[in-house]
Assembly symmetry: D3
Homo-oligomer: 155 residues x 6
């Protein structure tokens, strides 16, 4: 059987403990996981692309089966270009579910050979989102329990 490659797409503004949980738990399923950091000229980010990529690279520097890349355009086109048959996504709550369902069904409409695989975010991290991390950080709160260990947003 050929290699199972999954793309984990997102903004990662910044990476959270929830993202880390999903990626770590997906490693036994796939042979390779490409973390795909979207950059979209029309969106504004708190952390620029280089910072978002660097934080993720730092977190997974010891894991050779995980790579980090930036992309723009349709996620399914990026998957095709990388030879990935799978998109990996985490589900935290029913609102996530509705949103992810629409995206996954659009992706399948655009490219029927790519399947979206979902894992559940662990209960103790399910409240964490990048937007909550940004909010705590902006107000000077202690964000360290919300991000993977070693992540320093000020550096």
């Amino acid at each position: 059987m050929s290699s199972r490659i999954a793309v984990f797409p997102g903004s990662f503004d910044p990476i959270t403990k929830g993202h880390f949980d999903i990626i770590s738990r997906a490693l036994p399923i796939f042979d390779k996981i490409i973390i795909a950091v979207g950059h979209n000229a029309a969106k504004s980010y708190m952390f620029d692309l280089e910072k978002r990529l660097a934080l993720i690279q730092h977190v997974f520097s010891d894991e050779p089966r995980i790579s980090v890349e930036s992309y723009h355009g349709l996620t399914v086109d990026f998957c095709e270009q990388k030879g990935a048959q799978f998109i990996l996504r985490g589900l935290r709550n029913p609102a996530d579910f509705e949103f992810e369902k629409a995206i996954a069904q659009t992706n399948r409409q655009l490219n029927t050979s790519i399947e979206t695989v979902f894992l559940l975010t662990a209960a103790r991290y399910a409240y964490i989102s990048s937007s909550i991390v940004r909010d705590v950080y902006r107000h000077g709160g202690d964000y360290r329990d919300l991000v993977p260990s070693g992540v320093d947003l000020d550096k």
Copy 2:
């Protein structure tokens, strides 16, 4: 019994196969359906009002019981001005439902003589939204299965 007139309000930025499905299936219920395209100075659209109106007119050019108009202001005021007793809305998922419930209850508070009637978007179109069409179009994807046949966003 007097004529049953329904208003189907929205931004239609642009019209989708989901909108088309709801309007087509509502024809047996009402004598006349007015597609009411909102224009709101405070919002920004991908397609301008003329384009949004023209796409809808093209799609329903053969159906004399459907008309297309632009409006601004409260939807219930537009209904009253047009002699419409009904607002028609489609429901795709629970998130839609919560949003539509608040709008419908506000409308009833403002004008108790106007009733909102809901149809379910067909399962195979329920993931489609104008925002998803815009996203696919912006990235150069093939949007034709997401809009009514004959809709050309580039023209």
Copy 3:
């Protein structure tokens, strides 16, 4: 245009103020509404079929466009037999929505010519269900604000 006939199916064990609200507000949409009281040998009811029918007949005795009938079997078959093109249903909350969506899509699969039309239960009655009425009644509570005026469950 031919007559618009709707079937409003349910157990009505017993009829509630929520049912009454939906039926009353649907009268301007349809020419005739048939309240279809299901009887299912496999289910157990608090009120027997005769009582459930009698309560509804009493409530709508002044409205010639509403009739009450019992049925068993598939709802779409009952609609066909009665010449009804529409099924009327009320929506109270997102849980209702999911349940009703599955039923409506099954009915469309079984008979594509029958459309399900939804109205929103008024906010002040949306918490009421037959099961809540039965629970209050069983414990000797005052159920009168939960059912249409004139309904006497003890008679």
Copy 4:
């Protein structure tokens, strides 16, 4: 037992009948309620901070156990500074619930000694939000049934 102080945080742009309902019904639970009006340089409001504070002060001018203050920064830090052990929040619908759950769990992570207490918005006000009030007001609709009596948005 020491005094039970609750903070009720929000934008209040403007205060609605839903806010009023929650605060009034929370009075028997707490000894003191501080309505905390957030001001965030990054957000744009329809009504400025002074107007938002003045409307609330006017509404609760007769209730000595309720005070109104503005704040910025983390809500848990404001609570600590005020000696409040409780955050009060209203729940209207399942979408509210998901959102509030994430906020409450973040707050507990940041400060485990502060508890969030929820009340349900009364059914007849549950569709009201500040955003709906702004929308009706912007289009010249009659907003008076959506806000506490005596609130004049034009003054």
Copy 5:
């Protein structure tokens, strides 16, 4: 201000870590909490009333402000009889929310002087329900992490 008494009603078949979490965290809000164990002749339980009461009494034996009683009939009637102005409930997820909302609105309809107060179950216990504990116990699984420490279902 008079004493704040809350009733925490349920089947407790058996008590879970989720129940324990809600009750413990509610202690700073109320002066007294009465855990009210329902017994309903029409329902079947895995653990009989005596066992369900004994498990709870054991768990809270050191807390003089918590008492345990059985009841039947309407919860609001039991509250009135005990002089309790509050019903305490935990919320775990959106499905809980819809269910609890209907119950709370019925209770308010039956007795407007009794308020339902909600706390959020801690994220790490939110998946636990009595039904899941029974399922694990029935199949011989290790249920000890799902119930308060010291609870022995076999005794």
Copy 6:
């Protein structure tokens, strides 16, 4: 990397087109899928265990990587016994999601080495459940579009 084995547990009373869709689409992810048909003395089924197993075996007779077995007891214990590291589940709607989340988190509590992997049921089958198939079958409706081709419930 060792073989990836997934267990797909359920009652399959009977197997539906929704089950078939999930299993077919999961084949590229796993090396082997074991369809695990639960039998529980406390539950009543429309189709007996032999019939439920036979229908599934018939549907997948050409696929050597899929096997069918019955089991009772905890699903995680069955997985361990079979050397499966994964549980496969389909998600149709938000209500499914909440239910599946509680089960998955309980399973992780019981055995942290087993991961639950979710796929989304295709939109056009998402309304189908075994309970809807049983309902249509019981009333003599045409169930063939609801089950995999070749499934004959009368044989």
